[in-house]
């Protein structure tokens, strides 16, 4: 399995900015332990946008939070997260505090709950700069105006003195992005950044993220359940299911030929252009995402999988190269889909 990992990393442009290795997270609860993330490995190259996709409860947000140590103290974390070679798992809080906001920044789904309602947006953006860059308040305010312009807020010089409630949802999310990139972080983690927004506004926010990557070379990990967002912005995709990475591939490869049955199921479950109930049926994935107390040595998707057999319930499939010739498309499935999607859809018609 390790050799496979190496092969995937070698295909990237240079050494990754962020290396996640064998990350596992579990939480003790009143009803026993819940295993949220199990053995996730992932690289983020410089200037790369990686999309992480999966349904609620698949562990994508927990993975994201664990990167900069944002999980509650009760969380049990094992494995390794390295930023430019520096280990972050188990590091002292004082070290993490220097990393958060400066090297690794976050934006979340609901900007209204992430912004402080009693501070102007200028003060909130400025705060990051005063803490990490030791800027004066005046210099920080001037920089805040520049940052607001960078993220596409019109008349930034006036908007810098407004309060969050005076802005629309899209504008608030732009403020969050301005705050996140204030110190020029190497890594931006965007957890469902457009889920609460309308499509017209979403298009603008995705454009801002792409711009930041192109202009500042920021590496972005974008977490979403929306395959349209992934198709729009990601260079590579990681599909998660029940705490594990089940498939990892460059974006075009993943959509053209998903190998894992879960990925294939997700793709045919979403309505796509040209499909109508009169002639076509959406593919359902029966059953529910399991909540696991311990990670079994089995494929966790087996109970919902059309191709599962006894072997799938006996041992967990490793994440390994799925395609002859290409080393960057990995899937963890004992019975990967043999043909690309175009052929499958033809058969269904």
């Amino acid at each position: 399995m390790t050799t496979v990992e190496r092969a995937g990393a070698a295909a990237a442009v240079d050494t990754p900015v962020l290396e996640i290795r064998d990350l596992s997270v579990s939480f003790p609860t009143e009803t026993g332990t819940v295993s949220a993330v199990d053995g996730v490995s992932l690289d983020l190259a410089s200037g790369e946008i990686v999309g992480m996709v999966g349904e609620s409860g698949c562990g994508k947000s927990v993975t994201a939070m664990s990167i900069a140590g944002l999980l509650p103290a009760s969380a049990r974390i094992t494995g390794s997260v390295r930023l430019d070679g520096t280990e972050l798992v188990g590091t002292r809080e004082s070290v993490l505090r220097r990393v958060r906001g400066k090297e690794i920044a976050y934006i979340f789904q609901e900007p209204m709950t992430s912004l402080n309602p009693v501070l102007t947006v200028g003060r909130q953006i400025g705060e990051v700069l005063q803490v990490h860059e030791r800027m004066t308040r005046r210099a920080a305010r001037a920089r805040a105006v520049e940052l607001l312009t960078l993220v596409g807020i019109p008349s930034a010089a006036q908007r810098v003195d407004t309060y969050p409630h005076q802005l629309s949802g899209g504008m608030r999310q732009r403020v969050m992005i301005a705050m996140a990139v204030a110190c020029g972080p190497k890594v931006l983690v965007a957890d469902e950044p457009t889920t609460a927004l309308d499509v017209t506004v979403q298009a603008g926010i995705l454009q801002v993220l792409r711009d930041l990557r192109d202009r500042l070379g920021t590496s972005i990990l974008i977490i979403t359940h929306d395959l349209g967002v992934i198709a729009d912005i990601a260079d590579r995709v990681v599909v998660m299911y029940a705490g594990r990475v089940v498939e990892r591939a460059p974006v075009n490869d993943l959509f053209a030929h998903p190998y894992h049955r879960y990925t294939a199921g997700l793709l045919s479950a979403s309505p796509t252009p040209g499909r109508h109930a009169g002639t076509d049926r959406l593919q359902e994935i029966p059953g529910l995402v399991p909540v696991l107390s311990t990670q079994p040595d089995a494929c966790t998707f087996a109970d919902r999988c059309p191709a599962a057999d006894a072997g799938c319930r006996d041992s967990a499939p490793p994440l390994e190269v799925a395609r002859a010739g290409g080393t960057d498309h990995l899937a963890a499935c004992w019975h990967p889909c043999p043909s690309p999607r175009s052929q499958i859809e033809e058969v269904n018609r």
Partner: protein
Amino acid sequence: MMPEPNALEVEDLVMHFGPVRAVDGVSLTIPKGRVTALVGESGSGKSTVGRCVVRLVEPTAGVVRIAGTDVTHLSRRQLRPHRSAVSIVFQDPAASLDPRMLVGEVVAEPLRLSGTRVPRRDREARVATELERVGLRAEVARRYPHELSGGQRQRVSIARALISEPRLLIADEPTSALDVSVQASVLNLLADLQRDIGFACLFITHDLSAVEYLADDIAVMYLGQLVEKGSRERIFARPAHPYTQALLSAAPVADPVRQRQRQLVLLGDDLPSALDPPSGCRFRTRCPLAFDRCATEVPAQVAIGDGMAACHLVRPDGTGPDVRTADTSEVLS
């Protein structure tokens, strides 16, 4: 013989909440057994239209007719016999199901409220039938909503909506709170039920891919008014209003090769305030093609087939510029 009345007729509907002009003159007809999608951004007033139709709120002005009966200003008592003709399914089933009621009670409640006395045994049998129709086991009747998953709960609210055999179902973002795989099963279910039972449906949503899958007709709403109406085929193939075009271009397609070839129309983030909507055409502040006349003159509705578009740039034959391809300088000159 009298022709069968339309399932829903809304004429010039106005709903103002104090100074907020949430709905400002909406007219819409849904023939028997058709699915009309009402699409628009948050704040466009689409949910308020749905609430006026089921008379959760009493409209400020205009007429709502359900299966031929004017229900606009009926009192609660007068409304009761007509309640069974229309039902509503809301976005978040966790919030719209009473947590203290058993699923069986929830589903049976419309029967109890209709005033016709249904014997208990019959009621239980109908609840069981209804639950099975939405793909749940009859035993679910003895569970509480919190014991069910999100998708199962939404099935319960669909069962509750359909037990009174309505002619019209209002579905207000019924799949927006659900995961992709669950969404698929709820959309399939709605499509199956609609085909088998033949109720008409007002499908309120911002999800354009779900609209294309489920709707026969589409009405596009912007800031309290309809800007375009038409068949699904026409709206997706040849959207006439710049807002419809922008909306379609903004919704990402789950296909990276196609998605990255598409021309993106960026509108800017700010939907103007419904307290003080822009003069003339309400979309002009975000429209890439707006010109002088848009600020002074409210655009008339140009008929396109059975539908319409309200834009100065749409010609009488229904053609006009497309913001996704148009060279804006050419239009302005």
